[in-house]
């Protein structure tokens, strides 16, 4: 009884987790060795590690996206911001002898600037978020290409190499970075009233304004944060291939990020967001991608498989499905002791 209650209360949390476990198990049964993890050169090695490693850029972007979606916004420009910050990182590394941390700060600053731009369009000029960020989505790649002059700028830097592919305590450094960022965000959201304010603004701006929440500033900061997260992701992606690919870095990543936020149970109409579950959503998507790559499927099946599995996960997770299933079982139960029930109602209707 008590256990049942627990399940009931945490349905929303359990559904994405369950989906993740299922996808991992199914992939493992199709691909031998998928679950194996070994120590190689003092760090962990295996497909599961690859998933974590590959998921970090998306996870960072999704983190920012979740906050923006919480304010009833959306940020389509993250892919372009990734390209811009990658380009800044590469060009500064190649063309200046500034210390790496200055370069990184510059790249992060550029990302926040991009976020500020989006934020101003949305909260000051009242342009609808999807269009406001669409502008930077289109123009941003142009900016990135301008910085790299349309070429892939290859660079070399030990620190950046380590960010892209180094290990610390057996785990990839970039995974640590992502964990740090996630932990920090969750902490700020939980331990201050910021999370409450963001959700309130997303759910009802008018009411939030009337209680004195400075909604404009809040929405603006959400986009700046998203820009920061995208910039981090951009640095990692550039460090990963030791080059800035202004044309392709982070292409369509915004869709994966939004997908992850929604898989976690958030609504694009604002309101409640779930940061940790968003990360689970990212892992679901990355597992799927990695599974398709290792499966040896012909390329033309990639998208159909991805779409089918995403749809399946969505359908399984839908609260409606759960309700129908539970209705089905209660009906069965009722049918079992229907005799008494029927007699009762029969009597009731005869009486008056």
């Amino acid at each position: 009884m008590k256990k049942n209650n627990f399940l009931h209360k945490h349905q929303k949390t359990l559904a994405p987790l369950l989906s993740l476990v299922l996808i991992i198990l199914i992939t493992a049964s199709v691909t031998p060795g998928f679950l194996s993890i070994r120590m190689v050169d003092g760090h962990l090695f295996g497909s599961l590690l690859d998933i974590l490693h590959r998921a970090t850029p998306t996870a960072l972007v999704a983190l920012g996206m979740a906050v923006v979606i919480g304010t009833r916004g959306i940020d389509l420009s993250v892919g372009a911001v990734i390209a811009i910050s990658g380009a800044v990182t590469a060009v500064l590394t190649v063309n200046t002898d500034w210390p790496v941390w200055v370069v990184i700060l510059c790249a992060l600053g550029t990302g926040m600037l991009c976020g500020l731009w989006n934020g101003i369009l949305v909260s000051v000029f009242n342009i609808q978020p999807i269009v406001a960020t669409l502008i930077l989505m289109v123009a941003g790649r142009g900016i990135a290409q301008m910085i790299t002059e349309g070429q892939i700028v290859t660079f070399h830097s030990d620190v950046l190499d380590a960010i892209g592919n180094g290990y610390f305590l057996a785990f990839p450094i970039r995974v640590w970075i992502a964990i740090g960022m996630i932990a920090l965000t969750v902490l700020v959201m939980r331990k201050t009233a910021l999370g409450l304010f963001i959700e309130a603004v997303g759910a009802n701006v008018r009411a939030s304004r009337l209680v004195g929440i400075e909604a404009r500033l809040l929405v603006l900061s959400a986009y700046v944060f998203s820009g920061l997260c995208a910039a981090m992701s951009g640095i990692i992606l550039a460090a990963d291939i030791r080059g800035a690919d202004a044309n392709n870095a982070g292409l369509w990543l915004e869709l994966d990020a939004i997908l992850a936020v929604v898989l976690a149970g958030a609504s694009l109409a604002g309101g409640r967001i779930y940061l940790l579950l968003t990360i689970v959503g990212v892992l679901i998507i990355q597992t799927l991608t990695t599974a398709i790559l290792t499966s040896g499927l012909p390329v033309q099946y990639n998208l159909v498989v991805k779409a089918t599995i995403i749809l399946a996960v969505l359908l399984v997770q839908s609260p409606k499905t759960r309700q129908w299933i539970s209705d089905f079982f209660t009906k069965k139960k009722r049918a079992a002791n229907s005799s008494t029930g029927k007699a009762d109602t029969g009597k009731g209707s005869e009486k008056p």
Binding site: F197, N204, S208, L210, G212, P352
Partner: protein, 523 residues
């Protein structure tokens, strides 16, 4: 007296009363019959084995405290919520509406609680939605406009049906909703708190309309918290308490005090309005000062001072500018001339947060759009204003939140299974209480209330007025806009009368009376 109450509370006796009423009615086949209806939400048994019958040409009051299950009954009846068990018969045949549209087609026309219209559509489009007349298979907007004007005339509204609905005030929207309900050929009309925020004139108009429909043989269910209205229009009364049907009574045979006891479950003798002293005893220290404050096409410039411990009422007809006055005073709409100061802080240009920090508070009129944050919990909704004034970096600890909220839930008798329930799932009146509580915990120096008791039951109404008075005795100033003159007269020290967006007069001390206000408005 108290014996009677006790008797009425005895379950056996109640059902005896009920049966006699039913026996009297069973001569004719009831228009609507509800049998053993039950409905539960997670954690709440909203309706428990409710049965009732309504005849043709009967106006039935459906009464009960906030959260008693009135709205739920209506929604189950019209198929908005699926029922757990029970039967519904209309005209003797079993019906099971699958949604509101289906119910309409079956002949049940409903005005739900809160305004449920489409704010982004024009009045005409709202009125004719789903009933548009067509020529050659296409909607004819010419006919629609004619029809819309007819319907608006029925409820006595003379407004431009082509304008967008949300440019009109809540009261007008409410009337539009009623007009819409009349647009269908119905056997049953259900009105869930249609009179909240209406003025006496509109209410009279509505009652005339109900009387006419009654004579045409419609059955009407009417939900309200105003007992006067119950006694002036209804034939019979069904009382719900905690989801249970307490009984059905002939209006003429039930005294007010008995009715209240049935609703509340205990006798409340001190509900009668106590005589109110319209003068303040303490020394006058000014709180709010409006100096020639106005805004073009919004409100004519006016002066207004409120002192500590003073309650100033704002009266006026629908659309007279009461809400506008409140908004300018609070600062949610910035005036384009004049000065606003609160306890010597100039607020003319400052942010709302600053205003709240120096002691301003505002309960808006439109609870659904401006008040509640539906997805958030009762607790979060209640601490929102306090938290906002503190800033995001100094959070109120959960323990403290729980303490504050628990206290308010007790004090205002808010009916909720727990404080983490989303506020959107509370009954309308309870939502209103939460919004009020939101401001009470900020301990404001000056609280502005726009229609504060909208949709609140008599018990709570009484309680809230007590709280208001108490707070003022402790030195809080209060600006209350209300369409209920009786209420204003009960506690206001001073009443500002508005007309056509400017202040026409101010009644002081013993001048304050319903008649005086009405006279000022009429002049």
């Amino acid at each position: 007296m108290s014996d009677l109450v006790k008797d009425a509370l005895e379950v056996k006796e109640t059902s005896a009363v009920k049966e006699t009423v039913e026996a009297a009615q069973s001569a004719v086949r009831p228009l609507l019959e509800i049998k053993h209806l039950s409905k539960s939400f997670t954690g709440v048994q909203a309706l428990n084995d409710v049965s009732l019958q309504i005849q043709q040409g009967e106006i039935r009051a459906l009464l009960g405290e906030n959260g008693a299950g009135k709205s739920t009954l209506i929604k189950v009846l019209t198929g908005v919520y699926p029922r757990d068990s029970g039967e519904i018969l209309l005209d003797g045949s079993l019906i099971s509406a699958s949604d509101s549209g289906h119910a309409q087609r079956l002949g049940i026309s409903t005005v739900y609680q809160e305004v449920n219209l489409i704010p982004t559509m024009s009045v005409m489009e709202n009125l004719t939605l789903q009933h548009q007349e067509k020529t050659f298979g296409l909607i004819s907007w010419k006919k629609a406009e004619i029809r819309a004007r007819e319907l608006l005339a029925q409820v006595g509204l003379d407004i431009d049906p082509l304008r967008q609905l949300d440019t009109y005030s809540i009261a007008i929207q409410q009337l539009v909703a009623i007009a819409r309900a009349l647009s269908t050929q119905a056997k049953m009309l259900i009105l869930d708190e249609p009179t909240a925020s209406l003025d006496s004139d509109e209410i009279k108009q509505l009652f005339d309309l109900m009387a006419r429909l009654k004579s045409e043989g419609l059955g009407i269910i009417f939900v309200t918290h105003f007992l006067d209205q119950v006694y002036s229009i209804t034939d019979s009364i069904t009382v719900l308490r905690n989801g249970e049907c307490i009984g059905t009574f002939k209006t003429a045979e039930l005294s007010r005090s008995d009715l209240v006891s049935h609703m509340v479950g205990k006798s409340l003798e001190d509900l009668a309005p106590t005589a109110h002293d319209h003068s303040i005893k303490r020394e006058r220290t000014e709180l709010l000062q409006l100096n020639n404050v106005g805004k073009q096409r919004y409100l004519q410039p006016l002066d207004l001072n409120i002192a500590a411990g003073e309650i100033v009422g704002v009266a006026g007809l629908l659309g007279s500018g009461r809400t506008e006055l409140c908004e300018l005073a609070y600062g949610s709409v910035k005036p384009d001339q004049g000065e606003v100061t609160l306890s010597n802080h100039s607020l003319t240009k400052s942010s709302l947060r600053r205003a709240i920090q120096v002691g301003m508070g505002y309960c808006p009129e439109d609870r659904k759009q401006d008040g509640i944050v539906a997805e958030l919990s009762v607790r979060e909704n209640m601490i929102l204003a306090l938290q906002a004034s503190k800033g995001w970096w100094s959070p109120i600890s959960i323990a403290e939140q729980q303490k504050l909220v628990e206290e308010m839930i007790q004090r205002l008798a808010i009916k909720t299974p727990d404080m983490d329930k989303p506020i959107g799932e509370l009954s309308g009146g309870n939502q209103q209480k939460v919004i009020l509580a939101r401001w009470l915990i900020t301990h404001p120096a000056l609280l502005i209330l726009d229609e504060p008791t909208r949709g609140i039951d008599i018990g709570a109404h009484h309680e809230i007025i007590q709280i208001i008075k108490e707070l003022c005795e402790q030195g809080m100033g209060l600006l209350v806009a209300s369409s209920e003159l009786e209420e204003l007269v009960m506690f206001a020290h001073r009443v500002v009368v508005m007309k056509d967006h400017h202040k026409v007069s101010e009644l002081h001390g013993n001048e304050v009376s319903e008649q005086a206000i009405l006279r000022t408005i009429a002049s």
